[in-house]
């Protein structure tokens, strides 16, 4: 094909891409924190690569490809590029601009400077490959999830005419098939996928080897084997295989008769099972790093021991600090190994959506943004149930029926979007549907009807607060109880689960546009951010997620009454509201079989009091303590039987000095009083 007539177009467009790339780079250099410039840069280099390849300009294509690889590595980092990468990319843009100009002058295809720059880039990417341990398992998993989905689609394609016309009474045959994708083909994985899709019209595909998620990988050698369960004859299957484009060496053998219809058929499970994997694949470099970390710890321990023998206190403290550093680094390494990307659970969510769509007759699909966001496996495990709940709700009540959607001018297929993101050190998971939104008027009416709120209360509430009333146990706005949900067991369960995880939930809704339920979660359940507080000689931990503020108040501010002590908060004069104040001493005195009231406990105090104000399940209050020791990260273990029956405590943690601190469960503790 004569490409010379496209030269002008190539040059002008490629130059535009380089100018835009230069602008994006300057945005990043200014410290603009947004993933957009990095995404745009990726697209610019990707486009130039494609165009240059089409023109036959290999050096330009190669350099663009190298730059594309660099940006691909950085796409998950939220828009940050380090100094070295930034400078390298600026060089790339300059060099490419020169090469493009050279191409326009019809100069020799190869320009000096290109090769050394490419070598420089590859050298930079190499250490990234071994250091960036997070990319390896995650990329593999992230790529595998949509491909396992693909396997499910292929295995369950609708039966075609050929299949239906065959004798439905006879049992289907199991055809063992093998084929080789032509080595000359450009993309063997997709070619294999298309072949399988085409064959899936004839029946159900099982036992695909290698599995779908490996077809896109470099290890795929073009050979696949599978079983086609179908009523059609072997000759027809063979003919279908031979008709496939770019496919060689096809064989078909009929194995055994498939089980009779009516007999339970084995699940074509292509999504990896119900649970999160209990084993991990980690790059050996991670294990190496752990080993190095341990060696370092042992060495520093030795130095500490020597320093202690030498009775030089400063040296000993310094060695202890060094040892602590090593220990904390090790902990971080191990925590990183526990990270799983959200993508892990997406196949399950897709299946749930399909199931509910089938039951309700609604049409919906799942879009996930931020599937690569990784979180500790403990959080992912715990959040799965509430998430499934929200998704089923979204299909059943959120997106609406196809008829209702059509009436509103919406496309028949509803979209359920899950947004996963990290905000400071929390994980935010939002489930949003594009349906009709929640009916605020209906919620208000039900609240009044069931006695949850008066008209006056409602007048004072914000929209968010009204929406949160749907999480009251027993509150249900569904007209009828359906098989899926609507028994009034729904959002209250979700909220309880999320708050048990030290998280919280918010609901937003827009009439006619949809609803968004957001879960704000800690990054790990293994480690808890907590305040250590003291009551007499006891040290307890209060989860930081429950704590709204830490303050010092004057004893005069406390308002005693016959029902207890109160603290004024918010507003002035008439507008003031009060929250109950309880002394930790009073709570613990119950444990000891005494009764030391808050009033008695605080009566003697003249000095400013340390209090924590908390907000749990919408209930606000204040806890007075003898001392707020500090804020720490604790490894919390559950209490285990029979101690877990104590409502006041939700776990225990080992402190640095070897003592055990119980973790206070504020709701449970207040119930004691």
């Amino acid at each position: 094909m004569d490409m010379s007539k496209y030269l002008g177009l190539f040059v002008s467009e490629a130059q535009e891409h380089m100018q835009s790339a230069a602008r994006e780079l300057s945005l990043v250099a200014q410290g603009i924190r947004s993933p957009e410039p990095v995404n745009a840069l990726f697209r610019h280099f990707h486009s130039v690569k494609g165009m240059a390849a089409s023109m036959g300009f290999a050096p330009i294509a190669e350099l663009s490809h190298a730059a594309e690889d660099v940006l691909d590595r950085h796409r998950g980092t939220g828009g940050a590029l380090d100094r070295q990468t930034l400078e390298m990319l600026v060089d790339v843009v300059d060099t490419l601009a020169d090469m493009i100009a050279g191409a326009s002058r019809g100069e020799a295809r190869s320009l000096p400077g290109g090769e050394s720059l490419i070598a420089r880039i590859r050298a930079c990417l190499e250490p990234l490959a071994s250091v960036d341990r997070r990319m390896e398992p995650r990329q593999e998993i992230a790529a595998a999830a949509p491909l396992r989905e693909a396997a499910r689609h292929l295995a369950h394609d609708a039966p075609s005419d050929e299949q239906r016309s065959a004798d439905p009474e006879a049992a289907p045959l199991r055809h063992a098939c093998m084929l080789t994708i032509d080595p000359a083909t450009e993309l063997p994985g997709p070619r294999a996928a298309l072949s399988l899709k085409s064959l899936a019209r004839l029946g159900v595909i099982e036992d695909l080897a290698p599995p779908m998620d490996q077809l896109a990988g470099p290890a795929f050698d073009g050979r696949i084997a599978f079983t086609l369960v179908s009523h059609v004859t072997s000759e027809e299957v063979l003919a279908a295989l031979q008709a496939l484009p770019e496919v060689l060496n096809t064989t078909v053998t009929v194995a055994a008769m498939a089980p009779l219809p009516g007999a339970p058929s084995p699940e074509v499970s292509a999504d990896g099972g119900e649970e999160l994997p209990t084993t991990l694949r980690v790059p050996t470099s991670s294990l190496d790093r752990l080993f190095d970390g341990i060696s370092e710890m042992i060495a520093r321990r030795g130095i500490l021991r020597e320093a202690l023998r030498g009775a030089d206190r400063d040296a000993a403290l310094a060695s202890l600090d060094r040892l602590s550093e090593s220990i904390e680094m090790m902990r971080d390494h191990v925590m990183t190994l526990r990270l799983l990307p959200f993508d892990q659970v997406v196949p399950r969510l897709n299946r749930a959506i399909r199931d509910v769509c089938r039951i309700t007759g609604h049409s919906g699909r799942l879009d996930v943004v931020g599937g690569d966001v990784a979180m500790d496996r403990s959080v992912l495990e715990e959040v799965l149930d509430p998430l499934m709940h929200l998704i089923r709700n979204a299909v059943d009540h959120g997106i609406g029926s196809p008829a209702a959607r059509r009436r509103r001018g919406k496309p028949v297929e509803g979209v359920i979007r899950i947004d996963v993101a990290r905000r400071s050190d929390r994980i935010i998971i939002a489930v949003e549907d594009d349906g009709l939104g929640m009916d605020l008027g209906l919620i208000r009416r039900i609240a009044v009807q069931k006695g949850y709120a008066t008209e006056a209360d409602l007048a004072r509430m914000s929209e968010d607060q009204v929406l949160m009333m749907t999480t009251i146990p027993g509150f249900s706005t569904a007209g009828a109880v359906t098989a899926v949900s609507g028994r009034g067991v729904g959002l209250d369960v979700v909220r309880t689960r999320i708050e048990a995880l030290q998280g919280h939930m918010t609901i937003r809704s827009w009439s006619g546009r949809g609803t968004r339920i957001e879960m704000n979660l800690p990054p790990s359940l293994a480690v808890m951010d907590a305040f250590l507080v003291r009551s007499r000689d006891d040290v307890l931990a209060v989860p930081a997620s429950s704590v709204a503020a830490v303050q010092q108040i004057r004893p005069e501010d406390i308002r005693p009454s016959h029902t207890g002590c109160y603290l004024p908060v918010d507003g002035i004069g008439e507008e003031r509201s009060f929250i109950p104040l309880v002394a930790l001493n009073e709570i613990l005195s119950r444990r000891d079989g005494r009764r030391e009231t808050t009033q008695a406990s605080l009566a003697a105090c003249r000095a400013p009091l340390s209090i924590l104000t908390y907000d749990v399940n919408g209930t606000r209050g204040a806890l007075a303590v003898d001392e707020i020791i500090g804020r720490v990260e604790l490894v919390v273990k559950p209490l285990g039987a029979p101690l877990e029956q104590m409502r006041a405590y939700s776990g225990a943690a080992l402190l640095n000095d070897g003592r055990v601190a119980l973790v206070l469960d504020l709701t449970g503790a207040m119930e004691l009083l």
Binding site: M1, G50, L215
Partner: protein, 130 residues
């Protein structure tokens, strides 16, 4: 011998590079059996133009601003399950192409492409929509 006049298939060309769209347009125009009907520079335009013009076929680039090829493919198929969409990828995009196929794309072509290759793939698409 009867000469049946089969009408040329109309094609919507989707790619963010003018250069690529021009190349594909020329290949189609020279074939005598495909008519370049319209062009779109991103997924969002593609969905809009598809709705408006109902082409017989679509060539869809994978990586575009605004809305990418896989998402656009999904949206077009959601509105018209019989749509015939061919993905245009570069080397090394196996995973994305497979995702597109799972989403319902019918076939794919790989850049840099030759007229023969493009026409072979387009010719291979079903004559009647299933």
């Amino acid at each position: 011998m009867s000469h049946e006049k089969t009408h040329a298939k109309t094609v919507l060309i989707v790619d963010d590079a003018v250069f690529m769209r021009r190349m594909i347009r020329d290949i189609l125009a020279n074939s005598g059996r495909f008519t370049p009907l319209a062009e779109a520079a991103n997924g969002r335009e593609a969905v809009a133009k598809y709705d408006e013009l109902k082409p017989d076929l679509v060539t869809m680039d994978l990586i575009m601003p605004e809305l990418g090829g896989i998402a656009a493919t999904r949206e077009i198929l959601a509105r018209d399950p019989g749509a015939l969409i061919v993905m245009c990828s570069t080397m090394g995009q196996d995973t994305m192409v497979m995702e597109s196929i799972a989403a319902g794309a019918r076939d794919f072509i790989v850049k840099p492409f030759t007229p023969e290759r493009v026409l072979k793939v387009l010719d291979g698409l079903p004559l009647t929509r299933s």
